[in-house]
Symmetry: C2
Subunit: 420 residues, 2 copies
């Protein structure tokens, strides 16, 4: 008798009809003999409606009160889903984050889960009910309601699965699983049956949007097996778990791309110790996320520093850079918003030293110019012009033998995945 | 430095603009030097919207899940009100029923408050913030979310006031206070400056809708002084408190009426011990509320039993009566839905034995026929034909000297109260 955590996002529970569909899916799992815990998000537009209410009152509402407000969204869904299951003749019990024992820190609107004390959830499923947990929310040890920020419901699902020692955490989504590339861009992209946490983390960091980085991190840290699958069909999706000797190590698991970042370059910075620390210390203080960093020392005792940052952080980033440029006596700085990042991810890369060279050759042959390069042990990322991203991704997908054997050029976007 | 609990209902917080008005009112109280705790209901139609969502899923949703759903309504209001106060430059902190320490029993959808452990609320106000508590909701000792049913937010306000030892619990409403009769029916009705708990209880039981019976009971049991006043102006309203020697005892405080009940008569019931117990035992088992009961023994060894019950209980009542009539071998039974109850309420009645006679004479002079009479030590109620209720109320209001000296016949309904 398996214990399964099944997570459904806001689109999957967007209307009362869809809530009924999810209810039936949970009941099917129960009737197969599993013990079932559901984790759900707020219905479709509910969060946006609540945000609109708040902005009708205040431009800068206190974060504690935003959490108080937003947490009602999932609470509505869990109640309706429990009602739906009852109306179909089965038992269900809903739990707020607080009731499910999701203990978080006090960083309102982006709290982190510290512990899961899911005794009540376990009691409910052992008593034969389907347990339904509100995603995205927690309670501090002091009894304050928090929300977990972006990717919060995925993280709740993984945390509950870890807390209960569940056999698997199923993440239901609008795609079939994790693909070797975004099928909307690469019709020959193939669904992966299995990827390691390590690869999934690199893919998420490199632009794959199917799973949030923090949920994958949490899963890896607690050994929770993830199953990313479609909420529209019963086909198996992609398993994400610890790499072991039974897992086939493809050299390259996938090609990801990301056009959400901008590149900032500070020119002619004096080349002396502490300069990089000054720049990136200031950016950190301004709460700017920095992805790739490149520093080239020039011959004349000065240097250029480039970095990429999410476009949503760009206003804060340019404000910080402006100050730093003045303090350091750098020449000037510039922002390029028309960049893209393409990445190769694969655990087999560790033992195949020629991958980087093959990648750069493939991009050169396709006429793609590289402006930044960054690597980890299982990932190589290049910053290129945004206009060339499709050319680059397709060239890499073909070069590394990822194209499916039987590809129709007309795969519809609806059937495709969203690795990116 | 007073500690004041201020309660605002759903109409008072029906839009974000009205939420701002309430925020300003709370800030004014704070700036006068009071420590301020607000108790609020769900915004206007929110509860109805949630009920509609639920009925889209199930005809008979589990009550536990209804409470889970409905409790979100007040949680939205408290968050928005706290945001509004912050946006006006003052500190505020919102609390769900659970966070405010409202401990209830487990009777979902009609839970009763068992205790208030308002340490966090007290800490907030002592720290200089305006505390905002969600009305209508509680938490069981086992951690289950409950709602308190009809009049729940008033009861929350009184319970919080009791728990904090507040100086006064102000109930803001769409009327100026408690009137000697419904001003829409009796233009000469006068606002009462003060009434005792005892009188207020009898008035509420006899049809006055300005305060819920259970909230008044709770206030009396815990000695909480109530102040019923308008949310649209700053005029003093009506104080409800323990009667003492400084309180002037009017013989009659008010005339109330109630057209929400129906009269049921069971005819020719065998006159033997245990018959009334059988009838009303069965009604109680069917969860039917019974108000007045009359039994007349006839000469022939059988008797008629009449009782009044809220029209909303009538389906259950007739089902129970049907069974009982068959079991007891009564002749038949009938229902009269065109009845009204008029009541005189006044603490001075205790020491003025002629009140009943005067009342019956006044009604007779007005051509009003009585079909049932019931009395308490400070109330006399008569059941009459519904068509005669206005005639009866006006006649009594005049006879007992309650008409104001300077009455314009054209008092607008908006300016009037709603004693009934």
């Amino acid at each position: 008798m398996q214990l399964v955590v099944m997570k459904f996002g806001g689109t999957s529970v967007g209307t009362t009809d869809r809530v009924m569909v999810v209810a039936r899916r949970l009941i099917e799992a129960k009737e197969r003999g599993d013990r079932v815990v559901a984790v759900v998000s707020a219905m479709g537009d509910v969060t946006d409606d609540l945000l609109a209410l708040a902005s009708g009152i205040s431009d800068a509402p206190p974060e504690r009160e935003m959490d108080m407000l937003l947490a009602t969204g999932e609470q509505v869904t869990i109640a309706l889903l429990a009602m739906a299951i009852h109306s179909l003749g089965h038992r269900a019990m809903s739990f707020t984050g607080a009731q499910a024992g999701i203990v978080s820190d006090a960083s309102h609107t982006k709290a982190r889960i510290q512990a899961v004390r899911a005794d009540r959830v376990l009691e409910a499923v052992e008593g034969g009910a389907i347990a339904i947990v509100a995603g995205f929310q927690g309670l501090t040890p002091e009894g304050e309601i928090t929300t977990l920020g972006r990717g919060g419901s995925d993280t709740t699902a993984v945390a509950v699965a870890a807390g209960l020692g569940a056999d698997v955490c199923e993440i239901y989504t609008d795609v079939d699983g994790v693909y070797t590339a975004d099928p909307r861009m690469v019709p020959a992209a193939v669904k992966l049956d299995i990827v390691s946490y390590e690869e999934m983390l690199e893919m998420a960091a490199a632009g794959a949007r199917v799973l949030q980085l923090r949920a994958v991190e949490f899963a890896r840290n607690h050994g929770v097996v993830l199953h990313v699958r479609s909420s529209f069909n019963d086909s198996p999706g992609t398993i994400v778990r610890e790499a072991d000797e039974t897992m086939e190590h493809a050299i390259i698991s996938g090609v990801t791309h990301d056009t959400s970042e901008a590149k900032v370059t500070i020119r002619d910075v004096p080349d002396r110790p502490g300069v990089a620390a000054a720049v990136f210390g200031r950016l950190a203080d301004s709460n700017v996320n920095v992805d790739m960093i490149i520093q080239n020392v020039s011959e004349a005792g000065s240097t250029d520093i480039s970095f990429t940052t999410p476009k949503e952080d760009l206003v804060r980033a340019t404000r910080a850079v402006e100050e730093v440029v003045a303090e350091l006596g750098a020449r000037d700085w510039q922002v390029d918003e028309t960049v893209a990042k393409v990445s190769l991810v694969g655990a087999g890369m560790k033992t195949h030293p020629g991958v980087a060279a093959t990648m750069f050759r493939a991009l050169a042959d396709a006429g793609v110019n590289l402006s930044m390069i960054s690597t980890s042990s299982i990932r190589i990322s290049c910053v290129i012009e945004a206009a060339q991203v499709e050319t680059a991704v397709r060239a890499l997908h073909t070069t590394f033998g990822l194209d499916s054997d039987a590809v129709t050029a007309e795969i519809s976007p609806a059937a495709g995945g969203n690795l990116n």
